[in-house]
């Protein structure tokens, strides 16, 4: 390839930072875009919690900020619906998916496999610039006359298909569909790029079973996306036709909405749920697998120990991926789907818990007799493990279909997925940022700020989401504008107030992260190539790596798997992948 020559070019500002085809720049572009989305979606969460603690309370200041959504300072129920809809959509697709897969995937994968760039650099830039309009469309939908989509992030029809059903189903839902199409197009382009890169661009010696677990996890996650997203594309296009062109994919005969009978006939609302969750469940793993990969790499590095059971870890990732296509019906146990079918999904759901448990045990064993260094990335990785365990255990309740009868659509579900999926993934973003920041910017993040950020985030996270289990067990439904309307939920209100206050603390703590991120980018301590004394190839490159990663030298050659830490007989407690056996004793080589 001509990429070595390519590196010699002096690039204009535009080619370097805006329309860049360098995977590292694109990765950082994705990451910062996702942080912007997270900021908006996080502020939305604050508004949601504000209303949960003090439903329909008057907040004159907010009335000025949101004249349509909170006229006179009182939140409208339809505004509340738009808030939780967009919180979910933005967080799941436009923050976590973008940050973990596109952001870290782009930055880390070519470096970890010893490539000079992604297989298709132009497609890579194109995929980033395809997701940006998606973000803009989603944000813009808030300024529509009837507000953003309000049918929940799952957008179940008929609510999402019939304009009269809820104000958010006016143009807001159409914008939602358009935004999703941009996102899926971008993800598919990125996904094809990732798969090709991992299959074709690995350096000499980098066999599949020598790939770091981060690369494995993202590789499998994008495969999931490539196979699962088409089902949602089909769904949103049908939804678009139902909304604007008079079809009846999801609309049965006899719908009586807004005092009139709709002309539709022959549709099935449950079809959407199948199409949505056929994507929706793999999507959960699309977010979780990268976080799992980061955890493995960070544990090995900061425990100075090989990750326990590397082959089992790879096997578990693949098993989770395959099974994740056969469990979507567990979101639909009480949806009206045949309970016989429910039994099938119930069994598969129980089976998928096994590879997840294997991963947990392997991480735990990795910590046993380790030499743990509690730097910020490690703290967040430990947080992932703790949060993943908590969320995994509540999944054993929800996966058991008779228990799901009572717990479905309650706050127990909210607690569950904010631990297992959102929490593990969010902590994954923090762990990954702290870990790869020196490689991205050639500077270290501030450890003190990082630790303060971890402590507040970790404790506040438990304070916010752990009590939600109790709310759910007691039968508090999700998506309620005002739970105090139900007599049996009224006594739970103090818990909602506690959760809200904790949520504000959690939200405020993220400012520390933002300050640390942008301050360290320019003022942080200079980082050397391998500040964590890690084994994987990205730490062989300079910090930050040059345009083509390895400079004029040939790409590194790989001689070993990535987790040779504390090998007996070696002079140091780590052994990078590019060190041949003959060089082990040569301490100046690494």
């Amino acid at each position: 390839m001509t990429q070595t020559a390519h590196a010699e070019h002096k690039l204009s500002f535009f080619r370097r930072y805006i329309w860049s085809q360098d995977h590292k720049v694109i990765g950082i572009q994705y990451l910062i875009t996702s942080f912007l989305v997270a900021l908006v979606a996080g502020l939305i969460a604050m508004l949601i919690r504000l209303n949960m603690a003090w439903p329909a309370h008057t907040w004159p200041v907010l009335g000025n900020l949101f004249p349509n959504g909170m006229p006179g300072g009182v939140m409208r129920p339809e505004f509340y619906a738009s808030l939780f809809t967009m919180h979910g959509t933005l967080m799941v697709f436009f923050f976590l998916s973008i940050a973990l897969i596109a952001g870290f995937g782009n930055f880390v994968i070519p470096l970890q496999i010893g490539a000079r760039d992604m297989a298709f650099p132009f497609l890579n830039a194109l995929s980033f610039w395809t997701v940006v309009p998606g973000v803009i469309v989603m944000f813009a939908s808030f300024f529509l006359p009837y507000g953003a989509a309000g049918a929940g992030w799952v957008s179940y029809p008929p609510l999402s298909a019939v304009k009269e059903a809820i104000p958010g189903s006016m143009m807001g839902q159409t914008y939602w569909i358009i935004g999703m199409v941009f996102f899926i197009a971008s993800f598919t382009m990125g996904g094809i790029n990732f798969v090709t890169t991992v299959m074709n661009c690995r350096t000499k010696g980098m066999t599949l079973m020598r790939m770091p677990l981060t690369t494995w996890a993202i590789f499998v996650a994008v495969l999931l996306g490539i196979f699962a997203f088409p089902s949602l594309v089909a769904g949103v296009i049908m939804l678009m036709f139902d909304r604007h062109f008079g079809t009846s994919f999801f609309l049965p005969a006899g719908l009586y909405i807004g005092e009139k009978l709709l002309p539709n006939q022959g549709g099935v609302p449950l079809l959407w749920q199948h199409l949505f969750w056929f994507l929706g469940h793999p999507e959960v793993y699309i977010l979780m697998l990268p976080a799992m990969g980061f955890t493995s790499d960070i544990f090995a590095t900061f425990a100075r120990k090989p990750i326990f059971g590397y082959k089992a870890m790879v096997g578990a990732i693949i098993a989770i991926a395959v099974l994740s296509f056969m469990v979507w019906g567990h979101h639909m146990f009480v949806s009206g789907m045949s309970p016989y079918l429910g039994a099938f999904f119930f069994v598969n759901t129980i089976i998928i818990a096994i590879p997840s448990a294997i991963k947990t045990f392997n991480w735990l064993t990795t910590l046993w007799r380790a030499r743990i260094h509690l730097a910020t990335p490690m703290l967040f990785a430990l947080g992932i493990l703790s949060i993943f365990v908590t969320g995994g255990l509540s999944g054993i309740f929800l996966g058991n279909s008779p228990l799901d009868i009572h717990l479905h659509d309650t706050y127990f579900v909210i607690a569950h997925f904010h631990f297992i999926m959102a929490g593990a993934a969010l902590f994954g973003v923090f762990a990954g940022t702290a870990y790869w920041f020196p490689k991205m910017f050639g500077r270290m993040m501030n450890e003190t700020l990082g630790k303060i950020h971890f402590w507040i985030t970790f404790i506040a996270y438990y304070c916010v989401f752990f009590p939600m289990h109790y709310l759910g067990m007691h039968g508090m439904m999700r998506r309620l504008y005002d739970p105090t309307r139900y007599a049996y939920l009224k006594p739970l209100q103090p818990i909602n107030v506690f959760i809200t206050i904790s949520a504000f603390v959690l939200g405020a703590a993220q400012l520390i992260f933002m300050v640390n991120f942008f301050w360290s980018m320019f003022k942080g301590k200079k980082a050397d190539a391998n500040p964590w004394k890690s084994n994987t190839l990205e730490w062989v490159a300079a910090s930050p790596p040059p345009h083509d990663n390895w400079g004029p030298e040939p790409s590194p050659v790989v001689y070993r798997y990535p987790y040779d830490y504390s090998v007996s007989g070696a002079p140091k407690d780590y052994l990078p992948q590019n060190i041949p056996d003959s060089e082990i004793q040569n301490t100046s080589a690494y």
């Binding site: 059971g309 089992a312 365990v389 058991n400």
Partner: protein, 282 residues
């Protein structure tokens, strides 16, 4: 060699201890709402699951905390090079599988009993129709029949769209947001929706079933305690979703029959049978 633990190691260990204690307090309490139906097996499965997951929670979180505390001395011995152990890995995989399948087997038995079995022949039938944002309940004619419903006929006077040409429409009775059922008799609820998805949720009865337009989904259970219980909508159905509550009145059989008869007596056309339209029961 000096061995020193950092403050963080202590703090982190303490935090995990705190999580464990909180978790313990959490799982010793009876958390489910008072049970008023025959679905007590669900509660038993719930509490057994809570015990098992609770113990695993304490052990695993405790171990994370302990390992951090124990193995983060600043100048401790070299880490152990311990990369795999097939016997150990097989053991914990099998153990996990055994526990999970035991819970699943029991769960499957309950699922079979509650969801896959037809209602007993003596069951009392009632229909729950969800609409934005209220529940309409329909009781069959004395012969046990529900009249045909045609959405074209829906009007203010005929909110369920009963077909007057159907003989049974005269005997059908409607009530709004208040549902009356007899105690200790199986109740079959036929769940439907007029406009969007709803979910018929009875927190005290461990009953939840989505109401889907275009489908009639049935579920049955036996109430075991006389009393008034709340009915909730558990599926987002629009901006008034949070107002879509109702009351379930479980009555002695005689009272129940009297109630239905009294509702049936007010009969001047279909409209007047729609009792409680303005919020007052007859």
């Amino acid at each position: 060699m000096e061995k020193k633990r950092s403050f963080e190691a202590f703090a982190l260990g303490a935090t995990f201890l705190l999580i464990v204690i909180l978790g313990t307090v959490f799982f010793f309490k009876p958390w489910l709402p008072e049970l008023a139906s025959d679905r007590g097996e669900i509660d038993k499965l719930f509490y057994v699951t809570l015990w098992i997951t609770g113990i695993v929670f304490i052990i695993v979180q405790g171990l994370i905390g302990y390992f951090i505390w124990r193995y983060s001395k600043e100048k401790s011995e070299k880490a152990l090079h311990y990369s795999h152990d097939t016997r150990l890995e097989v053991t914990w995989t099998v153990l996990t599988a055994v526990f999970l399948f035991a819970l699943a087997g029991w769960g499957m038995k309950i699922w079979n009993g509650t969801m896959l079995q037809p209602p007993p022949p003596n069951a009392v039938a009632v229909e729950a129709i969800g609409q934005q944002f209220a529940w309409t309940f329909r009781y069959p004619s004395p012969n046990g029949m529900f009249a045909r419903i045609d959405p074209k006929l829906i009007s203010y006077q005929n909110p369920a769209g009963l077909d007057p040409k159907d003989e049974n429409s005269k005997g059908n009775v409607l009530s709004k947001n208040d549902l009356y059922i007899p105690v200790n008799v199986p109740v079959l609820v036929r769940i439907r929706a007029m406009d969007v998805l709803h979910s018929f949720f009875l927190p005290n009865f461990r009953v939840k079933q989505d109401a889907v337009p275009g489908m009639t989904v049935s579920t049955w259970f036996t109430p075991t305690k006389v009393g008034d219980y709340e009915i909730a909508c558990a599926q987002l159905c629009g901006l008034g979703h949070y107002t879509m509550g109702g009351m379930l009145h479980v009555m002695k059989m005689e009272d129940y029959q009297k109630k239905i008869e009294s509702m049936r007596k007010i009969k001047v056309g279909i409209d007047m049978k729609f009792v409680g339209l303005k919020g007052n029961s007859p």
